[in-house]
Symmetry: C2
Subunit: 205 residues, 2 copies
DNA sequence: CACCTCCCTAAGCGCTTGCTCACCTCGGGG
DNA sequence: CCCCGAGGTGAGCAAGCGCTTAGGGAGGTG
């Protein structure tokens, strides 16, 4: 729990302070029990407030989920776009993308769990907006894989399918990663970067 | 929805008929909205019964989830053990395991979603039982990978980590697979069997 | 015919839920 | 000194929840 303190860095631009405390409390609760099993009383309690205080900063419980989902997806998309636009070979860029993306999912696995697995609880409009961010993430990775295939560094018969699989592999880290487990986020990132290169048929060592 | 009719085959040994109809209705509802967002009234309604009828066949809503989870996990474990014990090289066996496991996750993605993502809603005792089945699944796949490394067919620096990643990749199919999408369960199984061989460092073609 | 068992329903109980409302507190400006 | 808006509280409402209970009808057996 001490390590979770860094979490607040993610939410730096959520103001005022009480609104940020509520977001952090909601992430913890949603990740632990899921959106629908979490009560507004639980969220407010974790943030040290009365149940009514939540509604000063957010119109509904769903808006809280949307805020979390929106911030999380934009962070994830930023990670992938930065890797796509970085210098280096396609292998370097794919490796960097997977390493950072996985590290984020492991380090912030509570946030990532909410971001990746609670989409279904969003309202229709919010859901549509988030889905478009997810398509952008997919496109960023697909560009790297396409570059690798074009340059001959990668060899895979199904670029969209392999891209989907690589992203899927990374996302699922949020499901199984345990802070008390033996692997650190850095170790998992390293392992997964290697696995992703194998998946796209990267020949060189 | 017509294709979902085969689903009933999975639940052949759930009797009497009304109990089976309830299980099938619950799988649909849980997969669509999640366990906590599903009401017993919704389940009973889908099965064409009154809300009270559910409690003739199941003590609680959680018991319904447990039945689904138990049957699903045993089916999945059976698939993996059959592949582990089959004749052929480690590559053949891993390929078979992934192909069948993935095909099941795609074909029965509604069941698989409940099985893989609603564990957290189980009671403590039921959860412990299911977790032990999952450990057995992991062990089955790890055995194949170890065999391949021992025989020199596979080359991976981290056997437990790679095993976890292969299983994780397969499981996540339940999250993204869409029956209306362009890929058939067979195509995804084929692609993923190939990806898994690459992940474990299988050299030959 | 009576009688039992198995499924099933209508009605509803007790409780929790997301959310609201009247009111309170407190620092800062005129 | 009063007033004000921003941020907070305690109490509680309407609705929906999981689940129970009393009772009914169909089918087999004496």
């Amino acid at each position: 729990m001490g390590a979770e303190g860094q979490q607040s860095g993610q939410w730096a631009d959520v103001t005022p302070d009480a609104a940020r405390r509520l977001v952090i409390a909601a992430v913890e609760a949603f990740a632990e029990r899921g959106y629908h099993a979490t009560t507004t009383r639980d969220i407010a309690g974790r943030a040290g407030m009365s149940p009514a205080a939540l509604y000063i900063h957010y119109k509904t419980k769903e808006e809280l989920l949307y805020r979390i989902s929106s911030v999380g997806h934009r962070l994830a998309l930023g990670i992938l776009r930065r890797a796509r636009d970085s210098a280096g070979s396609p292998a370097d860029r794919l490796s960097e993308a997977v390493r950072c993306f996985v590290r984020w999912h492991a380090e912030h696995h509570t946030t990532a769990r909410v971001v990746q697995y609670e989409l279904g609880a969003l309202s229709e409009e919010h859901y549509a907006e988030i889905v478009s961010l997810r398509r952008d993430s997919d496109a960023a990775v697909r560009t790297i894989v396409e570059d690798g295939v074009a340059s001959g560094d990668f060899g895979t018969p199904d670029v969209p399918g392999t891209t989907l699989a690589v992203l899927s592999l990374c996302i699922d880290v949020a499901r199984w990663f345990n802070a008390e487990g033996k692997r650190t986020p850095d170790e998992v990132g390293e392992l997964y970067a290697d696995l992703a290169l194998r998946m796209v048929g990267y020949a060189k060592k």
